[in-house]
Assembly symmetry: C2
Homo-oligomer: 472 residues x 2
């Protein structure tokens, strides 16, 4: 495993060089996380469909347990049980509108991962950076468990567990555990754990910080230790159940409507009802729940003992337990929404649950229609401090403070932007398919074949994958 | 499946162009054999080890159920459940001695398969043609069920079911069912079914033809029909049992001595005893038998209720049922040796059972030590007509006729050549491993990881594999 050890050391060094200004050493955070001999135990897999352009290139990398779809090149990197989804990449000839620029793509966009180490990380979407529209790059970067890199090219950065970067171009930053950053172009920042920051330069700025002590109960990460807390326990308690999905080459498909798709690597437990146009992505965990027409469950979602009435987005890593969601509720990534069997959580139609929101109450909690919700909520009273009707927010012209949330700028632009994005997500996922038109992932992912690749089993190259090129 | 249909048509046309002089149309032989929709159902797989040079390239091909090890490039071809073993290819710098020539290889040898269709075919070894030492090619060729292409570059030819070409370079030939040809360089021949022909130009010539009517009971193949007969029934009755090997990504290994290896795609049924230095290759079927030290079971072998005392070679497709083999017995490829529970077949030490020999008797049959055996034998009396002591044959200077067998030339060269080759096979397979030195396939194949690839699942390219390149 000499080559793999060298690769690991090299990545750590490169990230540290990038973070020298922040005086941040990633080594004590990463060293104990993945014993190298684990890295040769899991196969990687990639999907082939008639719909997704093919261009895989894997070089000098370990890909243990990782999944790839769409154009993706990985060099000198370690990807451990990560999902790299290039199914919304832009294509040659597409025109991207940014401010007053209309930018035409000169070639197909591809995801490029170099000199990086990703653990159980979700990579999705496309580069929103007008400077690098063809190249969705992740370089010199280290991302910890259940981080999301969403439409966000990134260089020289460290993402803590459950951190998300979204529609951001990031250079030499440290993003703390459970922080969510959607901020355009940023560099050389050290973002504290539990920070929720949504900024559209010149338009608005939304900022909330989870209360430090209370957040520790859910997620806590410090040098020399594995991530801890209720969120980690929750996923760890269920991880063995996924094993059977990975043992067989092909599984008997679970019957769903013709217009819906369950990923072959999703875990479907008894008493699920799956409606039309539903999309269930790989590594989702569904149990005893109702997914109404056009609902979706993205990667690393858990939906348990819940009812989603339709057109509900549950973004990457969202968790919904003992809850009832009216139509068109959006649940942002890595949110943790947990009612109890005898005191359920109820969310009204068209609510927007901000990414990285926690609602975890042993008393009933009810959220009225059309509200924006954020923060850490353990009771109905907390919701009062951490929510606002979307209509109210849309009228803000200047600033708004509620509890620990600070908003500045154009509330209308924020609400319209969010709603537009939710509409786009539903559309891309195939929620509006009418049997002929408007097909999306739910329909296009039905016909997919998986290829399983493994590393060298022994010798100096043990754990390294050979060079693999896949073209049409 | 448009592309796959075009590919099929193109291959058939190319083979027919090559065989125009023989006025042989392959189409009625092949068309019903593999319904195209079967060709998308099975994954292909390739092995990666620290010992075998890596160079896979798959282009414009269907590879359903086929296995690859070592350097191999496949273009415009259909390989259905075939085994392509490049684990004895020559390496750059090797020196190949041929007559008075000492030929140094300028690059690693590779297997190249182009414009060909192989069904359940075994490809192994390396090019023995001094003209093409770096290029083991199979082009414009169609090989039917359980054909063996062994060290034999081949162009523009048709091999019937259970046909073998061995150490031969073949151009524009038709080789009938169950024929074995080891003949140096040949072209434009139409070899009748059941022909056993071993020739070393200038040294010797061995010729035997199976009796036509009797052979029909075992294998029979005519235009417009699937191959039929006892050999086909025998393998078909057991084929479903292999299915469980292909369902899981990784199987729990069966315990064997440290110096032995069982391929992960071999079927091991109860009450097997596996000795030191034993090699069991993929798609071998072993049941209730004893494999003594250094014995091997190559691809498509069946060893059932039998005892092999040690250093026994069972070449590709050999079948041994209710039999006792003393040490150092060689059983040539595609032989069918069947005793009965109450009247076993007994073979003395150092016997050589020629390739494509049938011994199938419901009375006990016993073959003394050191005999060469060939032909179709259903009783002890047949053996008398179809065998000779190796010592006797070694003394032949001119010619020898026994029953329907004709031998011309130097008997000593024939015997010495055969024995040298058996020694080489044992050596290459690791039979002589002493814990340190003399390792071979039995030891080198222990550490292997398998990669599973699948074709496009839908659309015009349905059933075609994408372009795949694998390098170190």
């Amino acid at each position: 495993m000499k080559a793999l050890q060298n690769l690991f050391d090299r990545i750590v060094q490169r990230v540290n060089i990038n973070l020298r200004e922040l005086d941040f050493d990633v080594k004590p955070y990463i060293t104990i996380q993945i014993p190298l001999d684990q890295l040769r135990k899991f196969y990687a897999f990639y999907g082939i469909t008639p719909f997704h352009p093919l261009d895989f290139q894997f070089r000098q990398s370990n890909l243990a347990g990782s999944y790839f779809l769409g154009k993706c090149r990985t060099t000198n990197s370690i990807l451990y049980k990560s999902d790299i989804r290039g199914d919304e990449l832009k294509k040659k000839g597409d025109v991207y509108n940014y401010q007053n620029f209309q930018i035409k793509l000169t070639e197909d966009e591809g995801i490029r991962i170099e000199d990086s180490l990703l653990i159980k990380t979700l990579v999705h979407c496309f580069s929103h950076d007008p400077e690098t529209l063809e190249d969705f790059f992740i370089t010199n970067t280290l991302a910890m468990h259940y981080a999301n890199i969403h439409g966000a090219p990134i260089d020289g950065s460290f993402l803590g567990p459950f951190a998300t970067v979204d529609l951001t171009t990031m250079n030499d930053c440290v993003i703390g555990a459970f922080s969510y950053v959607q901020a355009g172009e940023v560099g050389h920042l050290n973002i504290e754990p539990g920070t929720i920051w949504v900024r559209s330069p010149g338009q608005f700025d939304f900022l909330y910080c989870h209360p430090k002590e209370e957040l520790r109960r859910y997620i806590h990460f410090e040098a020399g230790q594995a991530p801890r807390g209720l969120l980690i326990d929750f996923v760890d308690e269920r991880k063995d159940e996924f094993q059977r999905l990975f043992e067989k080459v092909n599984l008997e498909p679970v019957a769903v409507p013709d217009s819906a798709s369950l990923d072959r690597f999703a875990l479907i437990k008894p008493k699920m009802v799956i409606g039309e146009n539903v999309l269930v992505a790989q590594r989702a965990y569904l149990e005893n729940s109702y997914m109404g027409k056009g609902a979706n469950a993205q990667e690393n979602c858990y939906i348990i003992n819940s009812r989603l009435e339709g057109n509900n987005v549950t973004a990457h890593g969202g968790k919904i337990i003992e809850a009832d969601l009216q139509p068109n509720v959006f649940v942002g990534c890595n949110s943790f929404l947990r009612g109890r069997a005898d005191s359920r959580l109820s969310i009204g139609k068209e609510c927007v649950i901000m990414p990285h929101t926690i609602i975890d109450s042993d008393q009933p909690v009810s959220i009225p229609d059309g509200h924006l919700v954020w923060g850490l909520n353990t009771s109905q009273a907390d919701i009062e401090d951490n929510s606002v009707p979307l209509e109210t927010l849309a009228q803000v012209k200047d600033s708004l403070q509620i509890g620990a949330m600070y908003f500045e700028g154009d509330g209308g632009a924020f609400v319209t932007g969010f709603q537009g994005r939710i509409h786009h997500i539903l559309e891309a996922n195939g929620a509006f398919f009418d049997g002929m038109a408007n097909s999306g992932h739910a329909q296009k992912n039905q016909k997919i074949s998986f290829n399983m690749i493994q590393p060298y089993p022994d010798g100096d190259q043990e754990g390294m994958y050979p060079t693999i090129n896949i073209q049409p």
